[in-house]
Symmetry: C4
Subunit: 248 residues, 4 copies
C-alpha cells in the first residue's frame, strides 16, 4: 500500500513538473524570448539522469502531449516515433556537467545577438538583470568545429558549450543566440528575460554615454534576493497571467 | 443618524479611491510602465497618516482584494497575513515628507533607465512631458548605503530617496528605476508615461542633433494646463479604455 | 417633393462623412498616430464654411455622438454644452486658408518629434512617404507668441501655423507634434502614417550612412499615384480591418 | 474514369496551393512584413506558365475568393473584372527568368529600407538569416527608368529587377522595399522574415562595434538545413498559430 501511495505522489510531482514546463514554453513565447526556434527543458524531478523537453515544436504551441523524456545523452526513453529537437544535446550536456542546474533555455532573443559578435561585455546594468551573473561568456562554434550548420547537435558540441558556460547562469553563441540555466523553470525564465532586457538597455545607454555596471556586491545581493521564493512566485504569476495559459 | 450618513459617505469615498487605485495598477501595466515588479499607491482620502497599496503582486493582476492599508511607517493596519511589498517604504517616506503628494508610483520603465547612469539630464523636450518638471534628480543607493540588494526597503532609505526628490515630481534611482509623485492617481500616471516617453524621445533626438528642451516658462504653463481637470479626465478615459478595466 | 428628396440625399452624404470621421479617429488611434491627445476633422461636405470634429475626447473612444459641428471660427453651431478641443482652431484656420483641404489631423506621433527640434529635413526617403510632399516646414510657437502652454488655442495661432504650412501637406510644431492636411480623410490618414514612418526611417538610415532622398520627380509621380482612388481605397480597407471598426 | 480521378487529384493540388497562398498572405501581415501594400504569389503547381496572386488587396484581408490566375506576362486567365496589383509583373518576370522559383514576395519591411540606400551590405549575421544568401543586391529604378512612380509595373521593369536578383534569394529596391524568392511559400516567408530580422540586427550591432558576418561555409550549410522539410514545417506551424488563420 505504501508503495502505491509513493507512486501516486511521484505521479503528482511529475505531473506538476510537466505542467510547469508547458507553461514555461508558453511564457517564453509570449514574452518574445523564443519565436519559431529555441526550446526550454527541465530535469526529471525524481531522476537526475533524465530530462523533459518538447518534441520538435515551437514553444508557442507546445502542450502536454508534446513533452518527451530523454536520457542525458539525448536518447528517447520510450519508443515515441516523433522527432526531437536536433539541439537537445545542449540540455543533456549541461545537466551532466552542472548538477546544480534543473532547467535550461536556449533562445535567440534579438537584443542579445549583437553581444555574441562584438567586444562588449553583457554585464548587469540594472537590478532586475543581476540574475544573469557577473560574467556572460561567448562561445563560438568556429573555434572547435569550423564551418557547421550552426546547430549544437551533438553531445560533443554540447559539452564544449557547457565548458564555456562554466559555473555561470548564461552564455552566448556567436551569430546564433544564448543559453540560460537555473535551479528551476521560474528562475530560467527570469534569467532569460533579464538577459534580453539588459542587452537592450546596454545598447540604449551606450548611445548616451559610458555604462555604469552594477558592482559585484550589488549583483550578488540583488540576484540572491530576486532568485528567492517570493520574487520568483510574484514574477511567475505575472507571466502566467500574460501568457493566458496556466497549463490547465 | 448624522454619523451613520457620515460613515456611509466615508465608505463611498474610500471605495472610489480603492477602485481608482486598482484601475491605476492595470493602466500602468497596460501602458508598459510597470511589469512584474513596481507598484503604485494612494494616500488615504480621509486620513493623512495612512496609505493604500496592493499586497506583493504584479500590478497587471491586482484587484480590490489585494489592497492593504498602511501607516506612513509601513505598518499594516489590520492583521492581514499577506506579504506587503518590501519597497513600500518609498511610499510612506514620501507621504511623510511631502504633504502635497497623494499618489506615488515606482517603476522601471526601460527608456528611463539609461538616464539613471549617464550624465544626461532628463528634462522635458515636448509638451506632454512638461508634467515631469524642470529637474529630475538621480539618487544612487551606493552613496549612503553601499552595496545593497538595491531595494528601498527601509524608512531610512525611503527618506534618503525623498530628500533627493525634494519638491519635484519625479526622481531616478541609479541602475534601478524611477519614482513619480502627484496630487492624485490620474496625474501620477500622466507623469509616469511622460517620463518614459520623454526619455525615449531624448534618446532618438540626440542621435540626430542637439536637443532643444522646453523653456522654463513653457514647462510651467504647459504642465499647469495638462495637470488640470479636463486634460486629466480626457487622458484617464483613454487609459481606462485601453486597459479594458474600469474597476467594476 | 424634390426638396424632400434633396434633404434625404444631403442627410445621407452627411451621415457617410460623419461615419468616415469616426472611423478615421479609430484608425489613427489603432495605428499609434494619436494617443490621448490629438484630433482629426473633416470639412462639411455641403458647406465650405463648416467642419466636423469630436468633442474633447481621445480618438480611441470617439463615436458618432461625440461629433460636433463648428464654424471656421471655431464656434459651435448648436447649443451643445459639451467641451470642444481647445486646439480646434488649427482646423478652422486651415480650412479658411486652404480651400483645397477637406481633412486635417493633428498628432504627436513620437518618431516625428525629433524633427521638430533638430536641423534635419523630414523629406521622403521611400515611396510610401512621398505623400508628405517635398518640404515639411517647422513652426515654433516661441517665434510669435513666446512662452505659452504650447496649445494652438486661438485663431491667431491657427493662422500663424497655417502660414507656415503654406501650400504643403504637413508641418511640424517645435516640441509638440505635427499637422497633416489632405483632400479627404483617407488621404490625411495616409499622410499621417507616411510622415511617421518616414521620420523613423530617416533616423535608422542616418545611423548607417548618408540618406538618399527621393528625387522631386519621384515624389511628384509617386504621391500622385498613391493619392489616387485605388491605392487610397486599398489602404483604407486595410486600416479599417485592423481598427476592427467600420463605423457601423 | 482514370481521367476523372486525375482531375479530382489536380483540383485537390490546386486547392491546397491556394489555401497555402491565402495563409501566407495572412502570415506576412501578422508578422509585420507586409502592411497595406506588398504581395505574395505562388506558381501554378501544375502549369509552369501560370501563377496565382490576390486581386489588388492588402494581404491582411486576402481570402480564397481574392485569388486570381495569371499568365507569366501578367494577363488574367479568366475574364475576372477585378483589378490586379499594378506590380504583378515582379512575379511574372521572376517566374519566367527563374524556373527554380515557385513563390515570390514583395514587401516594404521597414528595417530593410535603409539598406536600399546606404553602402552597407545586407549579409547574414545570425544563423536564422542564413536563408537570405550570401549576397543581396540593390536595384535602383532610376538607373534604367529615371523618375517614375516607383512601381515595378511593366514586364520590362520586372525583367530588369529579375536580372539584378540573378540567382539569389532576395534583392532590394532603392527607396522602395525588397523581393524574396524561394522554392515554396513556406520558404519565401522564412526568407522574408530572415531578411527583416537580419537588417534590424545589423543596425543594432553596428552601433556597438564591427559586425561579424557568418562565413560562406556557415551560410551554405545553415541555409540548406533551415530550408529543409523539418525546420520549414516547424516554422510554418508557428506562423499559422500566430496568424490565427489556417485557411479553413
Amino acid at each position: 500500500m505504501v508503495s502505491v501511495t509513493q507512486t501516486e505522489r511521484d505521479r503528482d510531482i511529475i505531473h506538476a513538473t510537466l505542467t510547469q514546463l508547458v507553461v514555461a514554453n508558453r511564457i517564453l513565447a509570449r514574452e518574445g524570448i523564443i519565436d519559431n526556434f529555441g526550446h526550454v527543458s527541465v530535469r526529471h524531478p525524481l531522476r537526475d539522469d533524465r530530462y523533459f523537453l518538447s518534441r520538435s515544436r515551437s514553444p508557442e504551441i507546445v502542450s502536454r502531449d508534446d513533452i518527451m523524456e530523454f536520457t542525458l545523452d539525448g536518447e528517447k526513453v520510450s519508443d515515441d516515433p516523433r522527432s526531437p529537437y536536433a539541439e537537445r544535446h545542449i540540455h543533456g550536456a549541461i545537466y551532466k556537467d552542472r548538477p546544480d542546474v534543473n532547467a535550461v533555455a536556449h533562445h535567440h532573443a534579438r537584443p542579445v545577438l549583437p553581444f555574441t559578435m562584438v567586444n562588449q561585455p553583457l554585464k548587469p546594468i540594472f537590478h532586475m538583470a543581476s540574475v544573469i551573473g557577473t560574467n556572460v561568456p561567448v562561445w563560438d562554434s568556429q573555434d572547435e568545429f569550423g564551418d557547421t550548420n550552426m546547430l549544437v547537435d551533438s553531445m560533443e558540441m554540447g559539452h564544449s558549450l557547457a565548458r564555456a558556460l562554466g559555473g555561470g547562469r548564461a552564455a552566448l553563441l556567436r551569430g546564433h543566440g544564448a543559453i540560460c540555466v537555473a535551479q528551476d523553470l521560474r528562475a530560467v525564465v527570469m534569467i532569460s528575460i533579464g538577459l534580453r532586457d539588459n542587452a537592450a538597455l546596454i545598447q540604449s545607454t551606450l548611445a548616451l554615454g559610458p555604462v555604469k555596471y552594477l558592482s559585484d556586491g550589488e549583483i550578488e545581493k540583488t540576484s540572491a534576493m530576486l532568485l528567492g521564493e517570493m520574487p520568483l512566485r510574484r514574477a511567475w504569476d505575472y507571466w502566467v497571467a500574460r501568457a493566458g495559459y496556466s497549463g490547465l
